[in-house]
């Protein structure tokens, strides 16, 4: 462990590394099985062995409406997830800023968020469904289901904002204000850009948690399903690899979203690291070799 010399690993490293590898296999192994099975031949079944390789079941998803309204529910899921993303990001940033102050009711709001997070999803859906029923408002994916999903994404957003703000250095904010920036300018040009990686994290959570959510959405969805609800319906009555094809597609969409979010975070961090390096170089270079430093600054500003 930490005490070990820099060469040679203690035996515990190998034991723990083996445990970790097994855990990763446990996480990804079964998922890879259904990705392979979704390419079953037309006569293939739900289990191995593979009976030929084809895109038959992907085509079946779009062609036959037997398995439900796949295209429509996919569109609704994406739209709903985008709505949830925007609302979650805006409200979480505002709440994160609020919790930097001391204010009456802070503890109550905090505990309400935690309670909302751990409330069994189906029960919350039941409550939201009852509320719309009593108010004589027909439930729909863009009203009742949207609200039910926010009770799940907002607490996550709030917790991430806590983590982000606890690492935020207030000196930047004070410097901006000392230089005459207004509250809005400080927020828009200093605070938010610094917090951007964390905000992308909130967006990633907002989108993917909504896109895959179903226990909370099940009751207050109204008459038109989202994709996870279609999948849920399929698990009980579809017994063909079309189910796996749908699983592969929806997971591919998730992976694209995750990759986009993580790549943009990595790019932001790299650009920051490069700027800091350039700045350090400039400071050192000015004393030692002014011409070389000037050349590098020129190159640096060129690709910035």
């Amino acid at each position: 462990m930490v005490t070990g010399s820099s060469s040679g690993r203690p035996w515990t490293f190998y034991a723990l590394a083996a445990f970790f590898t097994l855990f990763v296999l446990f996480l990804y192994g079964p998922m890879s099985a259904i990705f392979i099975l979704s390419f079953q031949g037309p006569n293939g079944g739900l289990t191995f062995p593979m009976n030929g390789v084809s895109f038959h079941w992907f085509a079946a998803l779009v062609a036959q409406q037997r398995s439900g309204d796949f295209v429509g529910s996919f569109g609704r899921s994406i739209t709903l997830a985008a709505l949830v993303l925007v609302i979650t990001v805006v409200i979480s940033i505002m709440a994160g800023l609020a919790f930097r102050y001391r204010f009456r009711g802070a503890t109550a709001v905090f505990y309400m968020a935690i309670a909302s997070l751990i409330m069994p999803g189906l029960l919350l859906g039941l409550g939201v469904g009852l509320m719309f029923q009593f108010a004589h408002i027909p439930p729909a994916w863009f009203s009742s289901a949207l609200g039910a999903q926010l009770t799940w994404t907002l607490p996550f957003g709030l917790l991430i904002m806590f983590a982000v703000f606890s690492r935020f250095n207030r000196a930047y904010e004070e410097a901006a204000r000392d230089l005459g920036a207004s509250q809005w300018q400080t927020l828009w040009h200093v605070v938010l850009p610094i917090l951007l990686p964390g905000i992308i994290g909130v967006a990633l959570f907002g989108f993917t948690l909504s896109y895959d959510e179903f226990p909370r959405t099940l009751i207050p969805i109204g008459s038109r399903n989202t994709l996870p609800l279609e999948i849920w319906a399929m698990t009980t009555d579809v017994t063909s690899p079309a189910l796996y094809a749908l699983g592969t597609l929806t997971t591919a969409v998730s992976f694209v979203v995750i990759a986009l979010a993580l790549t943009s975070i990595a790019l932001i961090q790299r650009r920051r690291a490069r700027r800091e390096r350039d700045r350090a170089d400039r400071r050192e270079g000015r004393a030692a070799a002014p011409t070389a430093a000037a050349a590098r600054v020129g190159a640096g500003s060129g690709d910035a």
Binding site: F48, I118, T151, P228, T235
Partner: protein
């Protein structure tokens, strides 16, 4: 958590305006619905219509049935088993990542490797166990190929075993992330000092690492217990309909529009989950650690 810093400029109404949207959404879509569930649990039921009165029959029927106790016992059993397994996994994986992986880049990469499945569909991840554990599944085929068994093992799928496996698969992330988070903040100097003082690896874990990561352990435990207690779909699909949990029974009642008995059941479950969470929060002050 942080040393007191200079406070942002005093603007007395600012925090209230900033927190208002969050509070509003939570009150409308969490507070009021929760209240309605409690209210409806005292309503009466006439065939399929809800009658707004005040009766205790929903509760008396709930507590009068031996099935209720069996369901709660089963649900608590699942929760405790999954909690114990995910705790061991969460602690071991975090410990490996924090104290054995040396470069930050590798640490981030391996941590992300663990968290990516969390951002994909739970239903898909759950059903992916079916072709894996079934009679002709990969697991049985490997066992037979290795000559460990002649005939396929039957107990793997549609049993308590497959239910617990699926829970652990779905929810271990909720244990890893908070434990990793608190372990990563442990000051290395403390551990080096203990090692210099002659503490064994085991003593360092029991006397330093565990006490200092207790917030993460508490948060992870709250998540896992609440998720298992509130689940209905894993137990329905992975037990092949042979087992049930409190919420699975409730979802059957809801499916036939029996809202008042379902609501009474919901209230009991919520009281139980709240008690379990309160016990954990009593041991560890989660809020102070979180919001600083």
């Amino acid at each position: 958590m942080r040393a007191p810093q200079t406070t942002p400029p005093r603007l007395t109404s600012a925090p209230y305006l900033l927190v208002a949207p969050l509070a509003l959404v939570l009150i409308v879509f969490f507070g009021i619905p929760l209240l309605l569930v409690v209210v409806v649990s005292f309503f009466d039921l006439d065939k399929f219509d809800i009658i707004p009165t005040f009766v205790l029959t929903n509760y008396s029927e709930l507590f009068g049935s031996s099935l209720t106790y069996a369901l709660y016992a089963k649900t608590i059993k699942y929760a405790l088993m999954v909690w114990a397994i995910t705790l061991v996994i969460g602690f071991t994986v975090s410990y490996f990542l924090v104290f054995h992986v040396r470069t930050v880049l590798w640490q981030i990469a391996l941590f992300l490797l663990c968290t990516v499945p969390f951002w994909t569909s739970n239903v898909i991840r759950m059903i992916s166990w079916i072709p894996f554990l079934g009679r002709n599944g990969l697991f049985n085929q490997s066992l037979m190929a290795l000559g460990l068994t002649q005939r396929p093992v039957e107990f793997l799928l549609f049993s308590d075993f497959s239910v617990v496996i699926a829970y652990v698969h779905l929810f271990s992330l909720f244990m890893i992330v908070p434990i990793f988070n608190s372990m990563a903040r442990i000051d290395r100097a403390v551990i080096e000092a203990a090692a210099d003082g002659g503490a064994s690896r085991f003593r360092i874990i029991t006397d330093i690492v565990i006490p200092l990561s207790k917030t993460g352990i508490a948060l992870g435990s709250i998540f896992v217990i609440a998720l298992v207690m509130g689940d209905f779909f894993v137990v329905k699909v992975m037990s092949g309909g042979q087992s049930a949990s409190v919420v699975a029974a409730m979802s059957n009642e809801i499916a036939i529009l029996q809202y008042p008995p379902a609501a009474a059941n919901a209230v009991c479950l919520l009281v139980l989950v709240t008690l379990m969470v309160a016990v954990i929060m009593r041991v560890v002050d989660v809020r102070r650690e979180l919001s600083g």
